[in-house]
Symmetry: C2
Subunit: 119 residues, 2 copies
């Protein structure tokens, strides 16, 4: 984990959509590579903001009052406490940054809850 | 600061190399867009890791024992306390993430020390 990270190479090794792979750390934050397709689950994180940056494809961050559409090179930080539901109509590759103890499904839990592993 | 960020658009508005522009925040971290050319200054941050991700061009993170060469879509986290000196032989556009109170030149200070402004 002390070398550079090529995000697309890391993501190509991930098999499942929505399965977070930890590619590094920044202090007490985890750097997560994930490939996404379809709709995630509505949730929020009361204790932290949530960073999303699209590497390839398109990602919609659905908020209760609007949609935020992200393409390559675009990022959005979901403020803490704000309900959101990521969605991708076609596969997208995404960098997510959040504190190490953050659960991917936040307050929602459910089948999509994943324990990220280092890749 | 509550909308999405297109990094290349933000960077196109920056005139000076090595002048950090804050494009957003993630909790107590600042998200910085910067365009770089030439050599920065050797420095370290004793209190924090330092996140670099290349958006376009090529960036060399010189360490005392090796160089880390980054191209588009590649990131590297300089561990806290490790001396480093970024260098770009051609212009590169970079996303930097570090705590809000981090000085760009770390312990080195000098002419390149900049107070990042929101752009």
């Amino acid at each position: 984990m002390d070398d550079k990270v090529n995000l697309e190479e890391e993501i190509s090794a991930i098999e499942e959509h929505w399965t977070p792979g930890i590619v590094g750390y920044l202090n007490d934050y985890k750097l997560i590579a994930v490939k996404v397709l379809g709709e995630f689950v509505w949730h929020k994180h009361d204790e932290t903001d949530d960073f999303f940056m699209v590497l390839s494809g398109r990602l919609t961050i659905q908020l209760r009052d609007r949609d935020v559409e992200l393409g390559p090179g675009e990022l959005f930080v979901v403020p803490r406490g704000v309900e959101h539901c990521p969605k991708a109509d076609e596969e997208a590759h995404v960098l997510v940054i959040e504190p190490r103890d953050t659960l991917n499904t936040g307050d929602a839990g459910g089948d999509l809850t994943a324990n990220p592993v280092e890749i």
